[in-house]
Subunit: 220 residues, 4 copies
Amino acid sequence: MKALIEGFLKFQKEAFPQRTDLFKHLATTQHPGTLFITCSDSRVVPELLTQQEPGELFVIRNAGNIVPSYSPHSGGVSATVEYAVAVLGVTDIVICGHSDCGAMTAVAKCKCMDHLPAVAGWLQHAESAKVINESRPHASEAAKVSSMVRENVIAQLANIQTHPSVRLAQEKGLVNLHGWVYDIGTGSIDALDADNKTFKSLVKHPNTVAVHARPAKAVA
Amino acid sequence: MKALIEGFLKFQKEAFPQRTDLFKHLATTQHPGTLFITCSDSRVVPELLTQQEPGELFVIRNAGNIVPSYSPHSGGVSATVEYAVAVLGVTDIVICGHSDCGAMTAVAKCKCMDHLPAVAGWLQHAESAKVINESRPHASEAAKVSSMVRENVIAQLANIQTHPSVRLAQEKGLVNLHGWVYDIGTGSIDALDADNKTFKSLVKHPNTVAVHARPAKAVA
Amino acid sequence: MKALIEGFLKFQKEAFPQRTDLFKHLATTQHPGTLFITCSDSRVVPELLTQQEPGELFVIRNAGNIVPSYSPHSGGVSATVEYAVAVLGVTDIVICGHSDCGAMTAVAKCKCMDHLPAVAGWLQHAESAKVINESRPHASEAAKVSSMVRENVIAQLANIQTHPSVRLAQEKGLVNLHGWVYDIGTGSIDALDADNKTFKSLVKHPNTVAVHARPAKAVA
Amino acid sequence: MKALIEGFLKFQKEAFPQRTDLFKHLATTQHPGTLFITCSDSRVVPELLTQQEPGELFVIRNAGNIVPSYSPHSGGVSATVEYAVAVLGVTDIVICGHSDCGAMTAVAKCKCMDHLPAVAGWLQHAESAKVINESRPHASEAAKVSSMVRENVIAQLANIQTHPSVRLAQEKGLVNLHGWVYDIGTGSIDALDADNKTFKSLVKHPNTVAVHARPAKAVA
């Protein structure tokens, strides 16, 4: 904790003065363009990874970068998605998984979670990804975990499209969805190409979009 | 979105190479000391604010930096807290609110949220803070919002202490809880002094701890 | 009720003897090819509408032909979908709405449902369809209801694709999804063309499929 | 699926023209007298079995013809029962089980359902029937399943009487409840005689009513 407080003192002395105008401007307003949904994992820092300044990314972080599908009894992720899309009007949503994810490793290896009831319940929102991953052969345990991370991103992209606010924004052509997987050791990102359900290097294919916004069209 | 991808390319060229050894080390392990719970707000960047490198902060972010109290049908925050405390063994938990919070402004001003059903449901977890805030006189609307932000941090600190994993860690003397409020315009932080329920400048009182871990003691 | 019992006596005398061999065969086995999900409405009789004999259609019927998206605390629709797909191995799923639907009329006209709390709760699973329908101009109240029926079919097709059993079967290329709207007065059916989100006459376009099964492909 | 579309074309050419007046009349109204609750099983076709035309039966179908008892967070069955009783004013409710029921066989034989979590959860609504069935000796496995089907009908009749809409209609003397078991191989139906909890052939005892509506009477 000492490191955090020393870090904050350093922020006040160095990082804040470099951004005085930015923070003065941001004091009473925010207009982030992107909702960035990623894992709570300490190694995944969205603003570092995308080199974004304060004010750019509206961020949801939880174990496993999970978005429960919509239900009348929704929780914090649903509320935060609704706020980002319906109030702030973000134009892009990134769901970003990552290598060596503890949550996805637990799912892929069917680890006993009797002593972690809240975690076990939460990870059932990755069940559709799990059954697909289980149905395939994998070259190794590591490959199975890696594939699980990817399938989970795909599943959460399906889940988020059951949310009224997201569907309405898609229908109006206002929001694009992106599926990313970040590799901690190499600093690379693979992005989902929705057309053929494969992940491609973001460096080589910078324009990949998981799900394009659809221009509004009346249902005749 | 273009800015994000360009930012990522910059990360690969500049930020990653500066940390090659760190990321190689982190590729297969994380040992964060702190669980940092804050708002999804784009202006609040935990790692910038505390000048922490990847690997240090396990982060939960949602609208209003809310921690629902424990229940059998818990959601993502409960799962992530459980994982941080029971699996990763964090020694400190920071709940960090901030100035100009959209969620707390909506609560303090009793804004109609009929068009935001998920947000409305979620903010009921701040109800105990709201009724306390309503019971007091406030010099202005701004003061009322500012007070709401503080009361919410206090309420969420109470909520998190209903979680079995947190209570067990407290009982064992393994975890300290901290309540912070970050001011965006000035870059300052006030920390809760649990003894007299007041917030004090973190610069002047760097050792303030909201709730000390209690050494385990048998209940006679 | 007298009519039902007389009807049953007639069934025993006339309809059953015409199908003695079929029913003898079916006494201990069923292999339906299709899961047919439609409204409880008395005017929509799936087997009449598709001229199918007993043994062909596995049928779910509830108010509004709704399929809640998947959640750990799932109910009867989720269970029945799981049974149809994972145990019986149906190859097609039809979600069939219909004209003059009481449930969709209530949603489209924002009727007060304070006296019908269970109905009100249930119809929140059509919320994403409602917000889209509300966002469009409609030539008349009747057109708005008609459009609501169509949007609801599209929304329920999105919901069903969050179910693990369905996603797995899609991934293996084993199941196709179909969106239908039946017009009671004219006896016609419009089917959803998923590519451009329009409904087309099933007579003129008999091969329309809402969502094609995807051949399994490993996520690299 | 080809058979369904061909069946529909046949419906348009043959079955619809025979009922043009009926369907024209039904286009904007329904007045079903009976709520018929039965299994999703493809071999059980309510309208065939009771020789009823469109407009007569309001139908709920799910795996195991289950009606969860009432709770604040009710689902589709509760909503559909509420609509049938409180809005449409049906005068009779039939809960119809059937021979060779996959769901009841799974319950009676305690089959492992680890791979079918949604089904397993749903069939807990038949738990009270299961424990009663387990408490009795059975001549064979087949007899045990057959008894389970009957006990389930009795249990679901108890469940439906916890619904406010049903209890109110009973109290006003407006609705009768019926428990049926249909035998697929022989086309016969046994009906529950509520007085002595036995099932009797509907042909021989056509006036059997499971639970009579009670004329309203003040509770002194």
